[in-house]
Amino acid sequence: MLHEPARDSGPDPASPYKTRLGLWMFLVYCLLYAGFVLLNVATGGKAMQAIVLAGLNLAVVYGMGLIVVALIMALIYNHLCTKRERELKDPRWEVRS
């Protein structure tokens, strides 16, 4: 590893698609996150103590769910972005492995 300057990335033909997709996915996650915050605020925390799954309350299930869903959405986003980059077949956007 030389630690010399990286090459210039150049234009990215898949960029508009990725930006649009990213914004939509961001909005979806925003709604999920806002739901968690507002549910807690609106019910004074009471809704969070309801047991909903395998002896776990809503606070734990929803909180863990937000973490897991973030990863799932990230993987879907990457899959779709990579697919579009390949479709456009620009070798400059191949990821080094």
Partner: protein, 630 residues
């Protein structure tokens, strides 16, 4: 508590420091250019960068602060885990690829890419410095907390030690050595935290926890006595003072503070006053934290314990409404002579209350609701605006690599945050909370499994601080040397001079971090980081988002946004109840307002400033060009 360093913990610590310094020395020979120093040459593999992200991000606040908060406040601490992780969604979907495309070495490069504005360079560099310093304080504070039990050294020595090592790491090879220190630390933190949680699941839950033992094998756990005023009086004690729910009794064996609960029972406390602990000069606080009843189990069964449990059963058992947990809190009162007394006291709470939000972040009044929403907003939007995180996008070769490394980071960081819930609750139920400093809950939980795991976890926790502080100092030194001196000051430094300036700046920032780390001793590190997120989300995120998605954004608009964001966020914090009740030594009621978390006001204000100023200074269709004069 006074846990002296063992030869084992000192050896593990020394080994780690030697490895880190060797890495720095090794990469120093390879990072001679500015790109090599500030961005590791942009040649880091995305998978390595992803784990380094985790190493950079999973700071003392995450490991020490969140675990400590969960240990003492229950689910409320986990809210930080959720918010910190959710912030990475913003980083991935909105910021990652554009940041790589626009920037070169620093956050300032990216926001200034379309404008070449001196105003932006100055404002963004100042913002980087302010956020980095806000973030550095809790990290250095955490370092001091760690070194006390690990090496048996005072808090301030720990802070100086960390500062010195980090200055050495950054000043030798900049981002290259920082990256590999963070990679090493991120990997080790994940592996050993997993091991600790697996051991915890094998141990299960019980009302007589293994806890900590002294050198003679005696249990150290403090089990508070429960009594009544009548019993104390019958035992020859008399009440000499009352401060709210706290009563001071004196008897033949000396004085003691008790807390009266809602049912009228008195609970024994631990207290510190004028160098005395529980009335003994040079005495020691004992570790706390246990369950007193387990739902669905008789007292005898609960005493024997559950034996090995699955993670879901572990959480479900603690959530049971009949489970009782001893939550430990601290407060300060005046005694009969007017002397300040710090009281550490237990509260019996049900599993239902332990495992839902509401101990610290109450949502009962308007202001409490606003503070809660404000905190969650800042955590969500702050991650993608932290300068030391953003500069890691320049260490990979392409925007696609930036994206992939963010996904690796989400996987690693998300997994770790799930573990924090178990580690924090593990400390709360295994008698491993230091009542005076909950930041040590996770390492002390490791100690309950043996000195080897404690030594390893403590060394990793120490590495956690090193990795994050190194990243922060790289970001801050880049702001000084690259943004302010070279670009804003138009000094046109050569490659060699730019690297040299970065090293000198790293030294200066390191010294400031050391001083602040000593001054802010004892404050929960995660709480302080919450403020750093609020400042970052207010000062930086509106500029990044609007730059990317609103074509009429002008340089003057960005400058206004960053300036308004910093001033409003810091202004609200400095005049708010947390500062009055904490560092100012006054009361929360004396604060200028009731908003402890600034994000809900300062973030919209920053957006508003950008829009108004951009509209006022821009020309139709020429935002970037029009405002170049700013």
């Amino acid at each position: 508590m006074n846990l002296h360093g063992t030869p084992l913990s000192i050896a593990v610590f020394a080994l780690f420091v030697v490895a880190v310094l060797y890495l720095s020395y090794f990469f120093a020979r390879k990072a001679k250019s500015a790109a090599g120093y500030y961005a590791a040459g942009g040649q880091i593999h995305w998978a390595v960068n992803g784990i380094s992200f985790a190493g950079d991000y999973l700071s003392a606040a995450s490991f020490l602060g969140i675990c400590g908060m969960i240990a003492t406040l229950g689910y409320d601490g986990f809210l930080y885990s959720i918010g910190y992780l959710a912030g990475w969604v913003v980083a991935l979907f909105v910021v990652a690829e554009p940041m790589k495309r626009l920037g070169k070495f620093t956050f300032t490069d990216a926001v200034d890419a379309k404008y070449d504005s001196r105003g932006i360079k100055l404002a963004a560099a100042i913002s980087t410095l302010v956020v980095s310093i806000c973030y550095l304080i809790p990290q250095m504070n955490g370092a001091g907390s760690l070194v006390e039990p690990l090496l048996g050294l005072p808090h301030w020595v720990g802070v100086i030690l960390v500062g010195t090592i980090v200055i050495a790491i950054v000043a030798t090879a900049g981002m290259a050595s920082t990256t590999y220190v963070q990679f090493l630390k991120g990997g080790l933190l994940l592996v050993f935290s997993t091991i600790m949680v697996v051991l915890l699941m094998f141990r299960g839950l019980g009302t007589e926890p293994a806890g900590l033992k002294d050198d003679a094998g005696r249990a150290l756990l403090f089990v508070p006595q429960q009594t009544t005023e009548a019993e104390l009086v019958a035992g020859g004690q008399r009440q000499v003072h009352a401060a709210g729910e706290f009563l001071k009794f004196e008897g033949p064996n000396g004085a003691a503070w008790w807390r009266r609960d809602a049912q009228g029972s008195l609970w024994q406390t631990q207290w510190v006053s004028g160098g005395e602990v529980n009335g003994v000069a040079g005495g020691l606080l004992r570790p706390v934290g246990r369950v007193t009843a387990l739902g669905g189990m008789s007292p005898a069964e609960a005493a024997r314990g559950t034996g090995p449990v699955s993670p879901v059963s572990y959480l479900a058992r603690l959530t049971h409404p009949d489970t009782r947990i001893e939550q430990w809190h601290s407060t300060k009162v005046n005694d009969e002579a007017g002397h300040r007394v710090t009281i550490h006291y237990p509260k019996q709470v049900s599993g239902t209350d332990q495992m839902k939000p509401g101990v610290k972040f109450k949502v009962d009044t308007f202001w409490n609701k606003l503070n809660f929403v404000s905190l969650m907003l800042a955590l969500f939007l702050g991650t993608a605006a932290l300068p030391h995180i953003l500069i890691r996008y320049y260490t990979v070769p392409s925007p696609a690599c930036a994206r992939k490394s963010t996904i690796v980071a989400i996987a690693a960081i998300g997994f770790f945050y799930v573990l924090t819930l178990f580690m924090g609750l593990g400390a709360a139920t295994n008698g491993t909370i230091n009542p005076a400093d909950n930041n040590m809950s996770a390492p002390l939980l490791a100690m309950s499994f043996g000195k080897l795991l404690f030594a390893l976890i403590s060394a990793i926790a120490f590495a956690t601080v090193l990795g994050t502080v190194a990243g922060l100092i790289v970001a801050a030194s880049g702001a000084v040397a690259h943004d302010l001196m070279d670009r804003f000051g138009r000094m046109n430094l050569t490659e060699e001079r730019k690297v040299h300036a970065g090293k000198v700046a790293a030294f200066g920032v390191g010294i400031i971090a050391i001083v602040l780390g000593i001054l802010f001793r004892g404050v929960n590190v995660s709480f302080l980081v919450g403020w750093a997120f609020a400042v970052a989300a207010s000062a930086n995120l509106p500029a990044i988002v609007m730059l990317l998605f609103w074509k009429r954004t002008t340089a003057a608009g960005i400058v206004a946004s960053i300036t308004v964001g910093i001033i409003s966020a810091l202004g609200i914090i400095l005049t708010g109840p947390e500062m009055f009740a904490g560092p100012y030594g006054r009361t929360a009621a004396e604060a200028w307002h009731k908003l402890g978390q600034p994000g809900i006001v300062s973030i919209p204000l920053s957006f508003l400033a950008l829009v108004v100023v951009s509209l006022a200074t821009g020309r139709k269709g020429g935002g970037a060009k029009a405002a170049r004069a700013a």
